[in-house]
Symmetry: C2
């Protein structure tokens, strides 16, 4: 999209107090669920993810005094209330670091299909952090940007670095994501199977704060570092069966926590279960594919590029599947020319 | 079935070295999954269940020397190999206690519908323990009988006492089940929803020994006593919403352990998930019903007698439901006249 070097774009942004950034959503192989500190979004456990190249949010931030307060437009629609307040909170962090007092106009758009069931907040808050920091004249520091993104939406921290990313626990300064392998390290595919949402899940609002009410959460957190180490080693070795086993285990452990929280959160539908069962059958039939599931009913099928078409075709045969999206590994959040 | 007093039947059995016993299967409200000692079947955690009056196994044991070794017939079919060996192991315990050296002829039959998906081992081994002990001249001691049943099949310990039963952890002598309330304490119903088994679950053989491979099992075990205490208190108070919440939580915790064991055990099918979702909807619509799920895809819907017909009718509307059975609380394992 942009051939202008990032350094040049950051220089221009600081001059014009305006910047536009693009960021991808990510799919977690080792899940984030529950915080040590809800306000700072310090996660209970480390997590690991892959950016999704096919999907992105593009966000422009313009600091100026043409309006009295922050304004927000998402996909052409003005947003006020809690949505705007959450963006202003992120901008306040940026303004405080930059010593800036100007309000901002924020416009954001994503290429996510409507009803794709993919959370847009990771991409949106990563793009907001990068565009906002650049427009405010802050330096292009990956760890600072990941931290700013995290404060807006935890998993957004993982959408800042490139490719395959690990998000560490720690303090406000140290709980940031870093790239453990670039996109070109391994040409994996996420075949996103969007299923019927006829059985609407219990709302996910407050899900992270519910995590601690499950008697399984402490065990989930205690085991996360080991699962992450196993996942990371398998990822670096491009060992799909080893990685697949641990990502499936990690996903069902998170859903076990969700289903045993008080009140319980049931995100799975019959279609989710059909794809879980089908995945095991496909593997038994020789197709190397593994599932993971975020806080929703859709199933992400992870495979290598060579098998993606076959996995996609198989997924489309499942009753209740509404849409299938396919994405390879994506790059870092970055400024783009407008 | 029998109007002869149990004391008279026990006296006759000791004289004739022959006895026939009836026992019900049970549905666990707080689950048994994993052992502290596989050989002795000492459970990792205490559990709590209801006997199912509508279903039973009837077993006759005859000690005599008309044959050189133990023989076994189940539902009219001669059984040899591992099935016979497991029964002989139970008989050996009884013979050792009774100082008896005779082989036994064992015939057993159950009224479970074929493909009902209800494990028959609890009823079968409870009936075997009672008939075998009586025919061997052992005393009619509830705790001894529960222990003998447990050694054959863990959950059989809970089919020995009447009604609602609690099975304690402990040593070989103390890990027995006792009745915490008779059947007439509360006229609950188990509406057993038998679903399609098209997606065949991973075999359950060795499931108990797999429990410890899940990183969630220790947390499941650690929380079981509290869940049991909450379930027992709600049961004694006839508080269905309180009991229902904890039995659902306990069931999904067990399945979380199963799905995160190595290798994972997935017993749920799309139909299982449909009934889990439907149960929540039915409650939202005012129907007081709660689910539990054993090591299989079928769902047990727990409600009071007044709502059983409505629950049964609702369950029959779910696509993929093959059969619905309904049972109230059952009595103790006992000798019967033939």
């Amino acid at each position: 999209m942009s051939t202008t070097p990032q350094t040049e774009l950051w220089r221009r942004a600081a001059q014009t107090r305006q910047a536009t950034a693009l960021a991808h959503p990510n799919i977690a192989f080792i899940k984030y669920w529950g915080n040590q500190n809800d306000n700072l979004r310090l996660p209970a456990n480390p997590s690991l993810s892959m950016n999704l190249a096919s999907l992105h949010a593009i966000t422009t931030v313009q600091f100026d005094d043409s309006r009295p307060a922050d304004s927000l437009t998402i996909n052409g629609q003005p947003v006020t209330g809690p949505g705007l307040a959450r963006v202003s909170t992120s901008l306040d962090l940026i303004r405080a670091e930059a010593g800036l007092k100007l309000p901002a106009q924020v416009t954001s758009a994503s290429n996510f299909p409507v009803g794709s069931g993919i959370a847009s907040s990771a991409a949106a808050f990563a793009a907001l952090a990068v565009a906002g920091a650049a427009a405010a004249g802050l330096p292009a520091s990956g760890s600072s940007l990941s931290r700013l993104a995290r404060r807006g939406s935890g998993s957004a921290s993982r959408s800042v670095p490139a490719g395959y990313c690990e998000w560490l626990t720690g303090s406000d300064e140290t709980s940031v994501a870093t790239s453990i392998a670039p996109p070109e390290h391994w040409d994996l595919r996420d075949v996103v199977v969007v299923v019927s949402q006829a059985h609407k899940a219990v709302g996910s609002t407050g899900g992270h704060s519910l995590a601690a009410t499950s008697s399984l959460q402490a065990a989930r957190v205690a085991g996360a570092a080991d699962r992450l180490a196993a996942c990371k080693a398998a990822l670096l070795a491009r060992d799909l069966p080893a990685m697949g086993a641990v990502i499936e285990e990690d996903a069902v452990i998170m859903h076990g926590v969700m289903m045993s929280s008080r009140p319980p959160l049931y995100y799975w539908t019959p279609e989710t279960m059909a794809i879980i069962q089908a995945t095991q059958q496909w593997r038994a039939d020789g197709l190397p594919v593994y599932f993971t599931i975020d806080a929703g009913p859709n199933v992400h099928l992870i495979c290598d590029a060579a098998h993606a078409a076959q996995v996609e075709a198989a997924a489309r045969q499942i009753a209740g599947v509404q849409r299938v999206l396919v994405s390879g590994p994506g790059g870092a959040a970055r400024l783009i020319d407008r």
